[in-house]
Symmetry: C3
Subunit: 406 residues, 3 copies
Amino acid sequence: MPSNYRSFRKSVPWLILFLETVFIILFYFSFQRYDALIRNISYTDFQDVNNMVIFGFGFFLAFLKRYSFSSTGFNLLIIVLGVQCSILMEGLLVLLQEPNKHDPKIITMAAVSMTAVAISSGAVLGKTNPLQLIVMTVVEIIIFHVSRWINKRFLQVPDNISMKHVHLFGAYFGLAVSSRFAEPSPRSEKNASTPKSDLLSMLGTLFLWVFWPSFNSVLAYGDKTKAIYNTYFALAVSAVTAFTLSVLTTKDGKFRMTHVHSAALAGGVTVCYTAESIDYPWIAMILGLLASVITILGSFCLQRCLNPALKIHDASGVHFTFGLPGLLGAVAQVVLLVIKKWTVLPSLGYMVMIYIGAFCLTISVALITGFITGLILNFKLLKIIPVSKYFEDQFYWEFPHLAVGF
Amino acid sequence: MPSNYRSFRKSVPWLILFLETVFIILFYFSFQRYDALIRNISYTDFQDVNNMVIFGFGFFLAFLKRYSFSSTGFNLLIIVLGVQCSILMEGLLVLLQEPNKHDPKIITMAAVSMTAVAISSGAVLGKTNPLQLIVMTVVEIIIFHVSRWINKRFLQVPDNISMKHVHLFGAYFGLAVSSRFAEPSPRSEKNASTPKSDLLSMLGTLFLWVFWPSFNSVLAYGDKTKAIYNTYFALAVSAVTAFTLSVLTTKDGKFRMTHVHSAALAGGVTVCYTAESIDYPWIAMILGLLASVITILGSFCLQRCLNPALKIHDASGVHFTFGLPGLLGAVAQVVLLVIKKWTVLPSLGYMVMIYIGAFCLTISVALITGFITGLILNFKLLKIIPVSKYFEDQFYWEFPHLAVGF
Amino acid sequence: MPSNYRSFRKSVPWLILFLETVFIILFYFSFQRYDALIRNISYTDFQDVNNMVIFGFGFFLAFLKRYSFSSTGFNLLIIVLGVQCSILMEGLLVLLQEPNKHDPKIITMAAVSMTAVAISSGAVLGKTNPLQLIVMTVVEIIIFHVSRWINKRFLQVPDNISMKHVHLFGAYFGLAVSSRFAEPSPRSEKNASTPKSDLLSMLGTLFLWVFWPSFNSVLAYGDKTKAIYNTYFALAVSAVTAFTLSVLTTKDGKFRMTHVHSAALAGGVTVCYTAESIDYPWIAMILGLLASVITILGSFCLQRCLNPALKIHDASGVHFTFGLPGLLGAVAQVVLLVIKKWTVLPSLGYMVMIYIGAFCLTISVALITGFITGLILNFKLLKIIPVSKYFEDQFYWEFPHLAVGF
C-alpha cells in the first residue's frame, strides 16, 4: 500500500510541526514569568508522575504481540505532545480564574492529567493511526480541562477533587471513542499477547504499582503521608485479591496474567478519591479488596455481555481497569463523607449532591465528547486504517530486521 | 490433570481470603491510631525498599526459561501478603516491648523484612505451588519476628542489628525448606535459563544494585550517608571482582552471567552489617572484594560438593548470593568491633559474644524452623506438585497464546 | 579458538585485580577523611545519576541482536571500575588546586563523568574485547580529568562548565578510537537489531529520558529548578520532533526506532549547557527542536557521506546522538551569552573566546588522545578480536542454553 505510506508522510509531520509551532508561540506569550511556573514545585513528585506516564504506561500497554513499538513509542509521542498542551490549558484556566494567583503545581498537574490520555489511548490501542492519536490527545486534553473548569465554575468543586476524575474521564472518553471504530475480527491472530509481551506488560504494571502511592499523594490536598500509605494498603490488598479472584473466575482454576495486571492497580485507582481522608488502614484495605472484586467481575461481565451488546471493543480493558474502580472510588468518597459528617454538617445533602454531580458531569462530558471525537477521528481526512492492519507495528515502523520470531 | 486444577481452585482463593480477612480484622484492632504508624516516616526510604522487593526481586528471580510469570507474579503475591503480616507482627512486638513508644519506621521495616521471604522463595523457586508459598511466607515472617524478639529479649541485641540478619535468615530458612523438596531431575530441560531470561534477570539485578545503598541506609541506625557510600564502594568492587573470578573459574575462561548476578550484589549484603560504622572507603572496598570471592568460590564448591552431599537443590543460588556474604558480613562486624574497641572497652569479650551469639542464634532458628516448615509444606493437604511439573508456568497460569518460541 | 580463550583468562583477571589493588591502595592514602568526601552530598542526585549510567545506558546500548549480555554486563564493569578511578582523579585535582577546600560533590561528579565512558563504549560497541574496554576506560577517565584541569588552569573555565563537555568529550573520544578499528563487513548479520532488542533499548531510552532532567540539574551551578524544567521542555519537544523527522527522512514514510532513541535524548544533551540560565520555556523548546533536527539530519548525512569517507564505523550512532547535539548546545551557550550580555559587559568578546576555546580545546584533546588510545588498543598484547567475532556475545560469555531463537 505505498500510496498510503506516502500520505502518512504528507500528514503526520506537518500536523506535529504545526502543533509544536503553535505551542511554542503560546508559551512565548503565556509564560513570561517562568519563575512563577516552577516556584515551590516538588521535583520528586513531578519525577514520579513522569516515571509513571512515560515508562510505566508505555510498558503497561506493550502487551500486544506485534504492537510493542507502537505502544511504547506512540505513548511517548502523545504524552510529550499532550503535556505541552496541558500546561498551556492549565495556565490559561488559572489565568481566567485568578489572574493574580500562581499555582506552583501547574507542570505536575499537567503531567498528572496525561494519565487520562494514556488510558484513552489504551482503549483504542492498535486501532488508531498516529494522526488520529494526536488529534485525540489534543482534543481530549482541552475537553478535560474544560470539564474541570465547568466543575469548578458551576459546582464549586475544588481543583484537586476534579483532577481526581482523571481516570474516570480517560476511561469513558476512550470507550466512547472506541465505540466509533470498527471491531477487529474476533479471530485476529494479532490481537493477542505472547508470554514475552505479557511479561513486558508486567514490568510496566509493577512500575506503576510501585509509583502509584506517589501519584495519589500528588493529588492529595491534605495529609500527603496518609495518602501514600492508604494507597499502599489498598494496592497491597487489591493485588492479593486479584490472585484469588483470578483462580475463581478462569475456566481451569489457573491465574490469568491480565487479571493481575488490571486488578493489582485497581486499588490505587479506587482509593485515589479518599486517600488523604481515610483514617484507618483497614478502610483502605477494604476499598482495595472491593476494587479488585469489581475489576475482575467487571472484566468477566463486560467482555461477555456488555461490550458485545454495545459493540465496544476495549483493547486493553480500560473499562474495568480504570473505569469501574474509579466509579467505585467516587461512590466510596460520598459514602465516607456521609459517615464522617453525619452529625456535624447540616448541609450534608448539598455536599453529597455536589460530589455526585461532579462525577456524573465528568462521565457525561467524557462520553458525549468522546463519542463526537470518535466520529471526527473517522473522517476520511485522518486516513482511518483498515481492520486488517489493526495491531500491526509494521504498518507504522520500519522493520529492517526480518520479523521472524517476533 | 484436571482434578488437580479444580483442587487449586478449592484451596488457594479461600486461604488468601481467610488470611486477608484476618489481617483486616487485626488491622482494625491494632492501628486505631494511624498517625502513630506513619508519623515521621521517610517516604523515599520506603519507596526505594519497595522498588527493590517488588520490582527488583521480581525480575532478579525471572531467570528460568518457563517460569517468568510465576517468578514475577508470585513474588508480587507473597510480598504484598507478607508485608501486611509483617506490619502486624512489628506492631505487636513494639506493643509487647514498649507500649508507649511508637516506632515511625514500622511500615518501612516490614517492607525490609520481606527481603527474607523473597530470598527464601528464591531457594525453592519453581518447586512450590502458590499454596505452599503462601504458607511459607506467613510462617517465615512470624518466625523471623519471633527470632528478632528472642535476640532482643535474651541477648539485648538492638532492633536495627537484628534486622540486618534478614539476608542470613532468608537464605538459611529457604535452604532448610528446600532440603525437604524432591530434587529436580538433573537432565530437566526446564531448570535452565535462556539468553532472554538471563537478560531479564540482569534487569532485576541492575535495579537491585542501584537501590542497594538505600536499603543499607534504611537499616543504619547511625550515619546514613556513610552507610550509603560504603555500600556503593563495596558494590562497585564486588561487581568488578565478579568479572575477574568468573573468568578464572569457568571452563573456557568466559564470563558466566549468573556469577555476575550473584557476586555483583554480594558486596551490598556483606557490608550491610558495618555500612554505617566503616570510616574509610578502602575497608568497604576490601569487604566488597572478599564478598565477591566468597560468593564465586562458594558457588563453585557448593554446587559441586556440599549441595549434592546434603541433597539440597538451591534453585537460584541463594546460599552463595545471600547466605555466605551475610555470614562474612556478620564476621566482619565482629572483627571490626574488636579492632576498633581494642583499647577502649574492657567488656569487649562480652560484646563479641553477644554479636556472635546473635547471628548463630538467627541461623539456628532459621535452619530448624525452615526444616520444620519444609516438612509441613510437604503435607498432602498442600498439594505438593510432582517433580515433572517443577519450573513450569503453564501449571499455574493460563496460556491462551501458543507457547511456541517461549 | 580455545587458545584465545585461555589467553583471556591470563589477561583480564590480572589486569582487573591489578587495577583494583592500585585503587584500594590509593583510596587508603587519599581519603583518610571520609567525612569530607561525603559531607553535604545529595543522595537523590547521586542515585539518579547512578540509575542513568548503570541501568539506563546498560539497556540503551542493548540493541544489538547478539550482544545484549555484553552491552549490559560490560557497561556495568567499566562504570564501576571507572568510577573508582574517577573519584581518585577528582580528589587528586581538587587537592592540586585547592588543598583546603573540599568539594562535597566529588562522588556525584565522578559518576557524572562516567557518562563519557558509557558514550565512548557505545562508539566501539561490539568491536572491543573487555581488555581493550578496561584500558580505554582508565585512559579516557584520566584524560578527561586532565582536559578539565587544562580548561580550568589555562582558560579559567569553572569546574561545572568544563564538566558539561562530558557528552562532547565522550562522543569524539569514542569516534577517534573507533576510527582505528577495522570496519565490520557491511553484510554482517550480527550488526543488526531485532524487534525485541530494539524494545530493550527503548526501555533504556525511556529510563534515560525520565532521569535526564536530574542529570542536568546536577551539573547546574545556579538555579537547579530552572535546569530541571528547561531540560524537560527541551526533551519533550525533541521527542516530538523526532517522530516528525523520522517520517520525513525514511524511505517509506515510516517511523524508525533508532531515530526515536537518539533524537528523543538530543534535547537533553543540547540544553545541558544552558539549562540553568534560560529564562523562558520557549527558548528551551526551540533548542530541543533544533537538537532533534541536527540529530536526525546528522544521522542521515553522517551515515551516508562522512562516515564511509572517514572510514569511521559508529556502532551506536554516538556522533549524532551525543556529539552533534553537544556541539549545538555549546554554540547555543555562546549565542545566548552574547544576546544576554550585549549591553552589560564590555569584556564580552573575551568571554566568548573563552567559551569557544573551552569546547574547541575539549574536542581537540578528545580527538587526538582518542586517536592515540585507538592505536594503543590495537597493540597485539591486547588481543584484538577478528572482525568475524564482532558483535558476538558467545565470544565472551558462557552460553549453556542452546542459542536457538536468540
